[in-house]
């Protein structure tokens, strides 16, 4: 439990940890919001995969729009796009998470991972073994990247949560994925009361017209 706490960041600690990775919390919040706008803008008449796909694409794009001008590179292998900072060897991918995303419970990917994800997660695991002593030390440029996943969870009731996680083992049928580090992204509450269509007392506008005698 103590081990888990050490690798679990939220609030100000999350912001600090993100900075160590060269990331600002506002960039991730914007990416999450972009995905949500896109998801909610989908019509029920679109194919059922559209909301998920468009939300994922919008989050990645928004994040790329922040990171690429700051020297990060967009790479893509077998349909898995990532944003890579070659000087710090930090890479970020985007995915949907399950309901536990952004909570103290252990989250998991929402969908089954492909071969590239499996490979990247194995790489994360191998690096953990190699650099066990240096977990929070900046990673040397010449080493392979560690791939973090921005997990986003949203549902129709308005819940929207996200975290940046470093997976080291992929879950199977009965077990969850294992996360070496988890950084919870605090998404400001976007819920708002529905906007009233009219005021009960609109301003009075008098137009006096009368015939001249």
């Amino acid at each position: 439990m103590a081990e888990q706490k050490r690798n679990y960041f939220e609030g100000p600690a999350a912001e600090l940890r993100l900075r160590e990775l060269g990331l600002e919390v506002s960039w991730l919040v914007d990416a999450v919001r972009a995905s949500e706008i896109e998801r909610r803008s989908c019509s029920p008449l679109e194919p059922s995969i559209a909301p998920g796909f468009k939300a994922w694409s919008a989050a990645f794009r928004r994040l790329a729009e922040e990171l690429v001008p700051r020297g990060w590179a967009k790479t893509e292998t077998l349909n898995l796009p990532r944003l890579v900072n070659k000087s710090t060897a930090v890479a970020v991918a985007v995915s949907s998470g399950n309901e536990a995303t952004g909570t103290s419970n252990e989250p998991d990917f929402k969908n089954t991972r492909g071969e590239v994800s499996k490979l990247l997660i194995r790489t994360n695991q191998r690096q953990l073994v190699l650099f066990a002593e240096m977990q929070y030390v900046p990673i040397p440029a010449e080493e392979e990247q560690k791939t973090w996943w921005l997990l986003i969870y949203s549902d129709d009731s308005g819940v929207l949560r996200a975290e940046l996680g470093l997976p080291i083992r992929l879950g199977g049928d009965a077990e969850l994925s294992m996360w070496e580090q988890r950084i919870v992204i605090d998404i400001p509450n976007l819920d708002q009361p529905s906007i009233p269509e009219s005021d009960e007392e609109p301003p009075e506008i008098l137009v006096n017209v009368r015939p001249k005698s």
């Binding site: 896109e38 909610r40 803008s41 919008a58 400001p188 819920d191 137009v207 009368r210 015939p211």
Partner: protein
């Protein structure tokens, strides 16, 4: 024959959108002759005047009335001036001259609200909107009817007929009274923005307007119709186009006007602004307003005037006759503004607005 007024002849021709050479062919004269008639060098015969009247929709009475002051282009605030074909521009200016005649006709017979429009000189659109809201005691509430707001301050609002549909609106001062011509064929949302836009011109621009003045007038329209305090109070964030679509009904503006204002106020960021605008374009919402307002704004002045006339047995046809106009010229100026229309679905909407339905025509009650 009675005296032939060459200024009126030019207005009749231009209002009807007929070129000199076309009218010359109809009258069997050279185009130069038309120019001579318009400049007052020569006069047509009585028979030709009647023929011109039949073509342009004006009676001999119109041509023999006193001087009519044409509107000069410089004294009018046109939207999108450069894109308007000359023929439409002239037709619109001629419509403005007729609007002025009709407003004088009304003023002779009715007490109208006193003109009470402050003037501003160089103040920012945001500041002007705040001053106006404070002085007119509008608070931060949505404005239920822009046309009536203008009327309550002494303006008279007329409709632009659909033969000048390239124009959104224009306005000018006539003998101390502001006159606005509004394209009532556009969406309600658009008309509200146009009304506010013209209000700014009337208060701030006495000279010909350029790009900067047009931008300021548009900025003012956004600020007036979407007051920042009300937006800050109601919007914490925007999560979807659907939320915007619901919200636009509170302030009765177009979706794009709402997005522009939210961005201006920093409620949405640059990337959200881009996202929403791309989505608006993708869905065709920039040309076809989604979930349009179903309640159109009407004119309290025209409704009350024509209702009062009707009670006294004076029909729109007689008003037109008195002015020397064909009915279509009168209908064109009051179309869509709520004056003496055929009842829809059995009853007339009460209050400040009426349901959208087209086409609507002024009707004379049967004798």
């Amino acid at each position: 024959m009675a005296r032939f007024n060459h200024g009126r002849f030019q207005i009749a021709r231009e209002r009807s959108g007929i070129l000199k050479k076309e009218l010359a062919a109809t009258c069997g004269v050279a185009p130069q002759t038309i120019s001579n008639w318009e400049s007052g060098f020569t006069e047509p015969t009585e028979q030709v005047v009647t023929k011109i009247g039949a073509v342009t929709g004006f009676s001999d009475r119109f041509f023999s009335k006193g001087e009519i002051e044409p509107l000069s282009e410089g004294g009018v605030s046109f939207r999108s001036r450069s894109r308007i074909p000359a023929r439409s521009k002239h037709a619109a200016l001629a419509a403005g001259a007729l609007a002025r005649e009709l407003s004088l006709w009304i003023e002779e017979r009715f007490e109208l609200p006193q003109v009470d429009l402050p003037s501003f000189d160089g103040q920012s659109p945001e500041l002007v909107s705040e001053v106006i809201r404070a002085e007119w005691m509008l608070g931060n509430k949505p404005i239920p009817n822009m046309i009536q707001l203008l009327e309550s301050r002494g303006a008279i609002v007329f409709s632009l007929a659909d033969d000048v549909k390239e124009l959104d609106a224009f306005s000018f001062w006539s003998e101390g009274r502001p006159i606005v011509l509004l394209n009532t064929m556009k969406s309600c949302e658009r008309s509200r923005i146009d009304s506010a836009h013209e209000l700014f011109h009337l208060m701030c621009h006495k000279e010909e307007t350029g790009k900067k003045e047009e931008e300021d007038a548009t900025g003012f329209a956004g600020a007036l119709l979407l007051p920042k305090d009300d937006l800050y109070k109601n919007f914490r964030a925007v999560r979807s186009m659907d939320e915007l679509m619901q919200a636009k009904h509170r302030w009765r503006v177009s979706l794009s006007a709402l997005v522009v204002r939210l961005h201006e106020l920093g409620i949405i960021k640059d990337w959200q602004y881009r996202t929403f605008f791309m989505e608006l374009s993708k869905r065709g919402y920039r040309t076809r307003e989604p979930k349009p307002l179903t309640l159109r704004e009407d004119s309290a002045i025209l409704s009350k005037v024509f209702s009062s006339l009707r009670k006294r047995g004076i029909k729109p046809r007689q008003v037109a006759q008195d002015l020397g106009w064909d009915r279509r010229h009168l209908d064109g100026l009051i179309f869509g503004l709520g004056a003496t229309f055929l009842p829809l679905h059995g009853d007339r909407q009460s209050g400040t607005t009426k349901r959208v339905a087209s086409p609507l025509y002024l009707v004379d009650e049967k004798d």
